[in-house]
């Protein structure tokens, strides 16, 4: 899969969108509403492009423009370098609501586009039956759409699109009218057909508002946004299939997409490459309790925000070794800096001290969730059905990195921090960890 991207970079584009804009007459009939501001991108062979964006953001309009179903207000669409006039000569569209003709059987529906091409009857039947077989509708040839479930109808929609062996397959939210399990199933099958090159299709353009779906399937993601809609980012997804939603790279890309969706101020980016992230190594946690960290910060604040480490140890009648884990923890969390032997309270530390208990927990939570060990624990707990896992599970995990005793101590510190942050709870009688909502 990875070399698909490399191999295709040199080829000419199957389709190119150049400075395309679209404006619709406003409802009061007086002016125009700009829906798309100039957009440019191209579709290359051998790639699955997913267009994501907020609903009502002109995704479907864009799809219809590049299919030639509606003309752009300005700009142009090039197919193999030639301007597109009328409907795209070699493309097919799969609709959100299937758009099957209810009065035709499955076979007749699939056959219809071939009929339009003037293909003789026997040949038509042969090809239609082959595609019906491919999408797993064998045995349903003479059924009417109304007799089929949503998932089956979309299979017919897919068969109807594929039967003309389109160079470009477009899909407009093809899975969003299906229930979750059916959608998952069909998505996986389609991906399999694509990866095994069973589909006679050179490229796929799919519009969706389901970001997870985008990460799951795309070779490239076009992020639309803003008003009027513009291309905010283009993300090359260089992740191998199958992509597990639990893998860190999947999560990272998904988080990134969510950020694009929710943060309109994020500056546009031309091409971003999402590559595989190797799992982060565990950084050992310094063994300090939250109360200890708070105490240290209080003292620091009382002496004016800055003190020499040795002097502090001396004042508190403690050895530096006793103090170090607490200092290290406060530094790790960004509450404090250490400069030439001096401890200096940071802005973040001052904010935290000033905050009430709830706010403190909130700040703390945002900080510790970025610590790999705690992040791992949280995501592992959340991925289970009842959000609960035995402590031993994590001990086994940590053994490999730290050895048995240190693993136990690491976990104790993580539990102390996690509890304070209200990320998870620990039940000592059952030895179970449980994620909080």
């Amino acid at each position: 899969m990875a070399n698909r991207l490399v191999a295709t970079a040199e080829q000419t584009a199957l389709l190119e969108v150049r400075e395309v804009t679209k404006a619709f007459p406003s409802p009061d009939g007086k002016g125009f509403i700009q829906v798309l501001s100039p957009l440019s991108f191209s579709i290359r062979a051998e790639e699955w492009v997913v267009v994501v964006g907020p609903s009502g953001g002109g995704k479907s309009t864009l799809l219809r423009i590049l299919l030639g179903l509606i003309p752009p207000t300005s700009g142009e669409v090039l197919v193999h370098g030639k301007p597109l006039r009328g409907v795209h000569p070699n493309a097919a569209l799969v609709f959100q609501q299937f758009a099957l003709l209810p009065w035709l059987t499955v076979l007749e529906n699939v056959e219809l586009p071939l009929r339009a091409k003037g293909i003789p009857r026997l040949e038509r039947l042969k090809r239609a039956l082959a595609v019906i077989d491919m999408v797993g509708l064998d045995g349903y040839e003479s059924a009417y759409p109304r007799e089929l479930s949503g998932g089956m109808k979309q299979r017919v929609g897919l068969a109807r699109a594929l039967v003309v062996e389109p160079e470009l397959l477009c899909m407009d939210e093809p899975f969003s009218a299906l229930d979750v399990l059916t959608a998952e199933n069909l998505r996986a099958e389609l991906l399999r057909l694509w990866l095994e090159r069973k589909m006679p299709t050179k490229a796929i353009v799919m519009v969706t508002h389901n970001l997870e779906e985008a990460v799951q399937l795309a070779d490239r993601i076009l992020v639309l946004g803003g008003r009027p809609t513009r291309l905010r980012a283009e993300i090359e997804v260089d992740l191998p299939h199958p992509r597990s939603p639990d893998s860190p790279s999947f999560r990272a890309l998904l988080d990134d997409l969510y950020q694009w969706m929710t943060d309109p101020t994020r500056p546009d980016q031309k091409v971003v490459v999402a590559t595989e992230i190797s799992p982060q190594p565990f950084v050992p946690l310094p063994h300090a309790r939250v109360g200890g960290i708070a105490g240290l910060l209080h003292i620091l604040a009382d002496v004016g925000g800055q003190i020499d480490l040795h002097e502090l140890a001396h004042r508190l009648h403690l050895s530096i070794d006793d103090l170090l884990p607490i200092v290290e923890a406060a530094r790790l969390l960004g509450f404090m800096e250490v400069k030439e032997g001096d401890l200096i309270l940071t802005e973040k530390g001052i904010d935290w001290l000033k905050a009430d208990i709830l706010k403190r927990k909130e700040i703390f939570r945002d900080l510790v969730i970025q610590i790999p060990l705690i992040a791992r624990i949280v995501s592992a707990l959340r991925s289970t059905r009842n959000k609960t896992l035995p402590m031993d599970f994590f001990l086994d995990l940590l053994d490999e990195h730290f050895g048995e005793d240190e693993a136990r101590r690491q976990l104790q510190t993580a539990i102390d921090w996690g509890r304070y942050a209200e990320l998870f709870t620990y039940d000592a009688t059952t030895d179970m960890l449980r994620a909080e909502e």
Binding site: F95, A99, W103, A116, K117, G118, L125, P145
Partner: protein, 566 residues
């Protein structure tokens, strides 16, 4: 694919084959009569022998079906042009609206003269005039239904057709006509029912004191009435009922049941229509196979040919030129006939006479309004009662349908007989013949409306123990309102049309007339007074259109906005 079954000739094949053969023979035999030679001096005699009634009925039915075929063709062409050509639409749709409001029966004499001139030596001209009259009773409604379907064709279906690059021919049949099939069939059935009225009125008419009679049920009736033969009259009525039921069973029910397959999934069938005839046809083996093959072959051939023809694109300037030429020809045609009409009316009629006709219009208007009011008071309560009792409704609806299909004008002579015997004042009595045909639309819609009241609402009314009066005020009347408006508009239009034949009725050379616009038009037609006919129809159309705009359309909009359930 389809498993290879041993398919042999079964008993269903035998039954259907026999039926088909009989139909074919009858069509040829009856059809020949249409071209029979005829001279105005010796009109073909109508015999009152009841044994000839099946033949006469067949002639009438053939006429009805030819008119239906023409109506369908007209609807498809006119509706498509109106829906697809924006410039044509601006002209065609208002025209259709006017055509729908014009009382076509008034034109009968004028069109008869025209069609006789086309084919003066055979019955064919007369035949065409009758078919045209039936056509005008059917076509407008069906055209509106098709046009409306085309406008509401869902965007995804249009896009799918464009993506598949269907040819115009393929898109028309596979997408557009298929999408419109259900409303077309239902509307066709309703319009066909209305067509019987025009059939009965158009088979036997008097123009310029000369009687024209086409062999058919309507003429048989007219002859029976003329001779005062009560038995023959009753025979005619009986055969009419049997014919209506037979056409319903053998044609419309199978059509409606078959059309169910064109239902889109967003809508749900209220009543499941089944047809034993359709079931029978579907159980034949051999016939289905051979007719199926034939149909596939013909379909493929047509598909290829028409797709090729559809691809022939005229150059842009030729198309524009043709469009302009057509528009110009149409405008010239309209202006010419409009001016001729104006000249005839202005030269032949005095101002006083013209005003008198407007006055007669108000008299008929009063009658038409009485028809609507009385129908409402009489049939709404009955309709609600039937509609709220589903078992009763299942039983009553087909009966009402037959009653509505029965051409009321066939009963006018019997009414005349009653009026003559009882000396009932016909000035008021003439409301009854007008109501006879029109009332059913009110009943029909009242039943449908009551059946459409959601059970939850009825249960809620029951739980709150709403007294009957309150129940009517807060639930039944509001829920019924949109249906009543639809029914009342149809009854209103029907009553105006009926007034032309209902204000002058006869029994055995005794004629009952009353002052009114309908009577004015009829008498003018008998005398062949062109100016009076034109002016009478103009005034009537003006009445209908004015009230449609000022009154009914507002009620309709109110009903749509405020009282539409669901």
């Amino acid at each position: 694919m389809i498993a290879k079954q041993v398919r042999s000739f079964n008993r269903y094949d035998a039954m259907v084959a026999m039926g088909l053969f009989a139909l074919l023979y009858a069509a040829v035999h009856v059809g020949q009569g249409m071209f029979a030679r005829f001279s105005p001096e010796h009109p073909p005699p109508i015999s009152l022998n009841p044994a000839l009634l099946p033949y006469y009925a067949a002639r009438s039915v053939l006429r009805m079906f030819v008119a239906l075929a023409l109506s369908v063709a007209f609807s498809l062409v006119y509706g498509s042009v109106a829906a697809k050509n924006r410039r044509a639409e601006q002209f065609l749709i208002p025209l259709l609206d006017v055509l729908q409001s014009v009382p076509v029966l008034g034109f009968l004499s004028a069109t008869l003269t025209f069609f006789l001139s086309l084919s003066p030596t055979s019955l064919f001209g007369l035949e065409l005039a009758s078919i045209f009259a039936i056509f005008t009773g059917q076509a407008w409604n069906m055209t509106f239904a098709f046009y409306h379907s085309l406008l509401t064709l869902p965007e995804p279906l249009k896009e799918a057709a464009a993506m598949m690059k269907l040819s115009r021919w393929q898109r028309f049949w596979k997408v557009e006509v298929s999408y419109a099939m259900l409303p077309l069939v239902w509307n066709g059935m309703m319009s066909f029912a209305g067509g019987w009225f025009f059939l009965a009125a158009s088979e036997a008419i008097t123009v310029l004191r000369r009687d024209y009679r086409l062999p058919g049920l309507g003429s048989y009736m007219a002859t029976a009435v003329e001779q005062g033969d009560l038995v023959a009259t009753l025979w005619a009525i009986g055969v009419m009922v049997v014919t209506i039921v037979a056409v319903d069973q053998f044609f419309w029910r199978p059509m409606v049941a078959w059309a169910e397959k064109f239902r889109t999934e967003e809508t749900e069938a209220v009543v499941k229509v089944s047809s034993w005839v359709l079931n029978l046809l579907q159980q034949t083996h051999l016939l289905r196979r051979y007719f199926g093959r034939l149909a596939v072959g013909v379909g493929e051939w047509l598909d290829r040919r028409m797709t090729q023809i559809g691809e022939i694109a005229l150059p842009e300037h030729t198309r524009l030129g043709l469009g302009r030429l057509t528009t110009f020809a149409l405008i010239t045609f309209c202006v010419y006939w409009f001016l001729r009409g104006v000249i005839i009316v202005v030269t032949d009629l005095s101002i006083g006479e013209m005003l008198r006709v407007v006055g007669l219009g108000f008299v008929t208007l009063a009658r038409v309004m009485m028809v609507v009011v009385i129908s409402t008071l009489l049939w709404v309560p009955i309709g609600v009662f039937i509609g709220l009792h589903p078992n009763l409704a299942r039983f009553a609806q087909p009966l009402v349908q037959i009653a509505a299909s029965f051409p009321a004008n066939m009963l006018y002579p019997l009414l005349a007989l009653v009026f003559l015997k009882t000396q009932f004042p016909f000035a008021i009595g003439s409301v009854i013949p007008m109501m006879l045909g029109a009332q059913w639309y009110v009943l029909f819609n009242a039943i449908a409306g009551a059946m459409g009241i959601p059970t939850e609402l009825q249960e809620a009314a029951g739980i709150f123990r709403l007294p009957a009066k309150e129940r009517w005020r807060w639930l039944i009347i509001p829920a019924l309102f949109p249906h009543w408006v639809t029914g009342a508009i149809t009854a209103w239009g029907g009553a105006w049309n009926a007034s032309i034949v209902a204000e002058v009725i006869e029994w055995h050379k005794q004629r009952l007339t009353t002052a009114g616009l309908g009577a004015y038009i009829t008498l003018a037609a008998t005398k062949g007074h062109a100016a009076a006919i034109v002016w009478g129809i103009t005034v009537m159309s003006a009445f209908v259109l004015t009230f449609n705009r000022l009154f009914w359309q507002r009620l309709y909009r109110l009903a749509e906005l405020r009282y539409k359930l669901g």
